[in-house]
Amino acid sequence: MPTYFEKKQLVTPGELLAEGDYLPGENTYVEENKIYAQRIGLVDADNKRINMVALRAFYVPKVGDTVIGTITEVGFNGWTVDIKSPYNAMLRASDVLSRPFKPQNDELSTVLNTGDLIVAKIVSYDRAHDPQLTVGEPGLGKITRGQILNVMPTKIPRVIGRNGSMISMIKQETNCQIILGLNGMVLVTGKTVEDEERAINVIKKIEQESHISGLTDRITQLLKENKVNVEEP
């Protein structure tokens, strides 16, 4: 039962990763008892499971995920939301309005219009149905201020860090509120635009360099350097 890769090796689709008694993890597949890569990414073995962190991927909806989306269409009884995935999400009017929804009384575009950004949670999704969103929980709803940043959705776990260590460090050092949409959209809200810019630069750096070892150290350093720059002028 050999494996054919080194830890954190960069592989391309179709590359043979392991043979025999191993389990296929994320971004891998089995054919004739052999495990191959599905995407370009970095391989890692976790016991018997071969896992891959993809460098290029798109967001696939999952129930319970918090996402950030753009309203693309106002319909008769709800909105169509672009959540940067292969499927458009639906947000029902009855979910947003606290009272019963009557199409003849309520003008939906006054509540949310095309181009508006929302933080929402996915409540249902399967192969046959488009994802359904809700904004009926604290912290969800229309975005009124801050800046939006797009990152590769597979990099979101790296921005969060182990047990949220990375994200809490960024929040603390930049005094920004950060909402991570698992679909790769990130909302950064700070007291000043400069604070926001700093947080954005750090997140961008994580996205670019997450596949190179020693990330945490570099980010810590970057945050410190930036802080000095802000205090000095």
């Binding site: 960069l10 179709g14 043979l16 597949y29 191959y36 192969r127 596949h211 020693g214």
Partner: protein, 250 residues
Amino acid sequence: MNEKPVKLIDKKGVRLDGRKAVDLRPIKLQVGVLSNADGSAYIEHGKNKILAAAFGPREMHPKHLALADRMVLRCRYHMAPFSVQERKSPAPSRREVELSKVIRESLEPALFLELYPRTGVDVFVEVLQADGGTRCASITAAALAIADAGVPMRDLVVACAAGKVDDTIVLDLHDEEDKLGAADVPVAYMPSLDAITLLQMDGILTPVEFQKAVDMAMCGCKKIYEMQKEALKTKYMVVRDIKEKDEVEE
């Protein structure tokens, strides 16, 4: 230009462009060249210059073309009006429609179509300069573009042709050999899975010659496959190299 050379291969076995029978033309591959596409690739295969762009998976438009149980792959092969010596009309010709279908069908086995039902992936192949064997170069570039878009794949698809010129079986025919030669066998291939996804032939070959041509084309495919993998990795290695250099300097 239209004069037929006496011989396409000289006594020493050297072809018109100086290659031996089993040599490929020089190939240059680049990934991620277009910023508006989800994935893209550029190939220079001899004098061929081809751009490929991939979009998706995304919602199908028009919606009625979406399939309830799987993803739809759409390909468009197009030659720029300036890609050949005599201006080519930009309207899709019969040949381009056929090649679009051929490219689509050679890429489909590499994708997990059943994974994302009701969606579509679009691949656009634009030939900027043509010099024989564009369908093969297009498949090679299109596979890279799809991989660059982050669409899960069983394997990269590589394509290469072999054929018969002046009674010799040769690899990777260029325009003149293609037009004046006896036969042309384009092969698309998934090397890690050892599976052929496209096999065509025009001209006449004996069964023995045919077998030899297919083997030769597959051998060429394997060489291009290595370059394909290299090109895909290079995009990320660049960031890594710069970073590591910085660290050494520090």
